[in-house]
């Protein structure tokens, strides 16, 4: 088997380990400690924030402004409405920024 297949299937195997591993570790414990519970409840916000923050702060002013506007819109609009508004903003602002 050539190297690329070892890399792909090895990467796939290791990725599956990450997807099942957290659960396997956690299920060894009878009770979940309150600290672990608090940590797990923070996972969605923590991970998703890291996918947004560098883009918001390092790409340029149109990206920063569009994301601030979208975050405010999210207080009122459903998710898809907020994405549509953010999308309209980024296209407009990038055009303005040239």
């Amino acid at each position: 088997m050539s190297d690329i297949y070892i890399a792909i299937l090895g990467g796939a195997f290791l990725t599956y380990i990450t997807r099942i591993g957290g659960h396997l570790i956690l299920s060894r414990f009878e009770n979940i400690h309150p600290r672990v519970e608090a940590a797990l409840n923070a996972v969605p916000a923590a991970v998703l924030t890291t996918l947004v923050a560098p883009a918001a702060l390092t790409q340029g002013w149109p990206e920063t402004v569009a994301l601030i506007a979208a975050a405010l819109a999210a207080m009122r609009l459903p998710l898809l409405g907020m994405v549509a508004l953010g999308w309209a903003m980024i296209v407009t602002l990038r055009t303005l920024a040239g």
Binding site: N41, A46, V47, L51, P54, L67
Partner: protein, 229 residues
Amino acid sequence: MNPDFLSGARRAIPIILSAAPFGLLFGALAVDNGLSVFQAALMSASVYAGASQMVGIELFGDHAAAWVMAVSIFVVNLRHLLYSATTGRHFGSYSTLQKAAAFFFLIDPQFAETEREVEKKGGFSFAWYMGMGLTFYSIWLGFTLLGALFGKLLPDPKPWGIDFLLTIYFLGLVMSFRKRPFWLPVVIVSAAASVLAYKAVGSPWHVSLGALAGVVFAAAFGVERKADV
């Protein structure tokens, strides 16, 4: 067909359409870096995690050793350990085989939408979960193939903001969890840590490092104090 399955599939469609450009891009870049169309598709079908696939083909283009590629994919995907521990709590009633299958499909948007569903309805069925998972999976694979086959014809996505859709969607998800206890401190810590890591170490390590900072912070300071009886 099972109505839960269909409702999960319907939930997936608008989301995967904002991720589809990245599937196209991955397919195109994979072929550009020397993978065959089959190998690009195999990677999407088996690794099934966009950012780590990009890192993998980048390394392949640089003639890295196979084990370096595999381990790098692993490191980029370490955040799934957190998803697995978090969402596994809702798989209680599944059989072992159902769990083994469900965990394979636990990618970023699958995780986020599942947690959103728990927030809204308190739980979800296996059929709903798989309806969403299989929809994400088949469209990701389909767009990888399209990108691998026709990548050279792709226009520049930037003027149309396509490259930014997923970022806006992820921000919407962050906001949708704002009612959780300790939400704002976690967002601030993760944001600061990820930007620091982005500048100091570079992408994609800022994801794992930033997330770890927020989660550890929540464990240290985010335990709700129980009122005295």
